[in-house]
């Protein structure tokens, strides 16, 4: 690895200690078997139940708009800034642009993350941008760009969808013109189990097919929805899922996204009311 002159570099070959632990922990397969047997998830939620959401708008005083979101242990903070001139763009564009950056804090995951944006973070940034682009009225600020930055402080699953929901809130908080409220939900699929809003363990269960079975399905699905106009602004999936399962998952996710809307609305109304009271 090249030496980063702008940071303090640690020793070269460090290894996470978890590699040397005894594997007396349950393997993912066993965990899954147990969930199937008991019919209960590790945190005793129902399979279609979303975790409790905690939101705080205005968490970053220096930003125009910001939102901090917590899905139990998953913690994401998003900030939005005023429109600025698009750098390195000599020609005039009628539409504004969104710049999204999705970043994991170095300590946010099981494995230490590096400071430089990796492929996964770039992919997530692109998906976030894609989800928000159809939400923001880009024609309202031609030739300018609005910056949206998301940092995951702790990843316990569903961090991309949490970031998208939070970004929607932060944009509304910043007073950026938007067509609609956006909510986003992740789902994990393993065989015939659908985990709505999976934790990291559940996500890992869904990442690999179960061994010894040839015809098995698994995967992760992320869906973002615009509420009023009933539009899917972003849909992302990977793994190995049949078309029927996928259609089923879309309808479940659609429903869950709808369930989140009142929560998002509540926090936005709270923010508006708070401002009103301050103004008078």
């Amino acid at each position: 690895m090249p030496v980063d002159h702008k940071r303090i570099n640690g020793p070269e070959d460090t290894v996470p200690y978890s590699l040397y632990t005894k594997t007396n922990k349950q393997s993912l397969t066993e965990q899954y078997e147990e969930i199937r047997k008991t019919g209960q998830r590790t945190d005793s939620r129902a399979f279609s139940e979303h975790r409790k959401i905690f939101v705080r708008t205005g968490a970053v005083s220096q930003a125009k708009g910001s939102a901090y979101i917590e899905l139990d242990n998953t913690k994401v903070i998003v900030s939005v800034f005023d429109p600025r001139e698009i750098p390195n763009r000599p020609d005039y564009s009628l539409k504004g642009e969104l710049y999204c950056e999705f970043k994991f804090a170095p300590f946010s995951c099981h494995k230490r993350r590096l400071h430089v944006q990796d492929a996964e973070e770039k992919q997530h940034s692109a998906i976030m941008k894609r989800a928000l682009e159809s939400t923001v009225c880009l024609h309202e600020f031609p030739n300018f760009q609005v910056d949206v930055y998301a940092t995951v402080l702790e990843n316990d699953g569903s961090c991309l969808s949490a970031a998208i929901t939070a970004a929607g809130l932060a944009l509304a908080h910043a007073g950026v013109p938007m067509y609609d409220i956006i909510t986003s939900v992740t789902m994990g699929i393993q065989r015939d189990t659908f985990f709505v809003d999976p934790t990291v363990t559940e996500q890992n269960i869904c990442l690999y097919p179960r061994p010894s079975e040839s015809d098995t399905e698994h995967g992760i699905v992320v869906l973002s929805k615009l509420h009023t106009h009933d539009q899917v602004s972003q849909f992302y999936q990977f793994g190995n899922v049949s078309l029927d399962k996928l259609n089923e998952s879309i309808s479940i996710l659609d429903e869950t996204c709808r369930e989140l809307v009142p929560i998002v609305q509540k926090y936005l109304v709270k923010h508006v009311v708070k401002n009103l009271q301050r103004n008078t």
Partner: protein, 202 residues
């Protein structure tokens, strides 16, 4: 502002039908015959020639970008023979968090005798000016004009660094050294600099 209980709305909320009486104004958009809100804020219905314009305003700071015809407050940063570079600091009464770059060209400084204008006799770096935004062209920066009586320099400091007061529409005088310096002075000279933008509001 209306005195009655404010009507809250959220982005994407359907406000009303868009028809002959109601049209979509600031902070709203129209889709398939309905008016929707773009912002989280309060609904405001403005009567304009028997047409009710539905507007939505945020309760916090507004996200605005300068548009054609807006009166802006700007600070001059660099002057050349041809133009003065400025930073727009306020649009109307909204204070911007992040300034926008703008250019005041020589021919846009005065309404009369345009070709005899000399930039350094009209504005100097550091001056605060009131200006109007010209139609937006393909260029990256905004073009401003001060070619109106009410527009021009409102706050300036003399060479010695003391505040100056206007004494005519082309001159200002230092409050300490009493030295005169030429400027394109804005007509209204109030106690507080932002008063003119209020009085000037069309």
């Amino acid at each position: 502002m209306t005195t009655k209980e404010p009507c809250l709305c959220l982005p994407g909320q359907r406000l009303c039908l868009s028809d002959k009486t109601y049209t979509a104004g600031q902070g709203t958009y129209e889709r398939q015959g309905y008016i929707y809100s773009q912002l989280a804020g309060c609904v405001d219905i403005v009567d304009k020639d028997n047409i009710k314009v539905v507007e939505v305003h945020t309760t916090g700071e507004q996200t605005v970008i300068p548009a054609q015809g807006d009166i802006v407050t700007a600070q001059v940063s660099v002057i050349t023979q041809q133009y003065a570079k400025c930073f727009i600091k306020c649009v109307g009464e909204t204070v911007l968090r992040r300034p926008f770059r703008a250019v005041l060209r020589r021919e846009d400084i005065r309404a009369t005798e345009k070709d005899r204008v000399e930039i350094y006799k009209c504005v100097r770096p550091g001056d605060i000016i009131l200006a109007r935004v010209l139609p937006i062209t393909e260029a990256h920066t905004y073009h401003l004009t001060t070619a109106e009586n009410e527009l021009g320099v409102v706050i300036a400091h003399s060479e010695a660094g003391h505040p100056m007061v206007p004494i005519s529409w082309t001159d200002m005088q230092c409050t300490k050294t009493f030295a005169k310096e030429p400027r394109k002075v804005a007509k209204v000279v109030p106690e507080h600099f932002n008063a003119p933008s209020e009085t000037l509001k069309p």
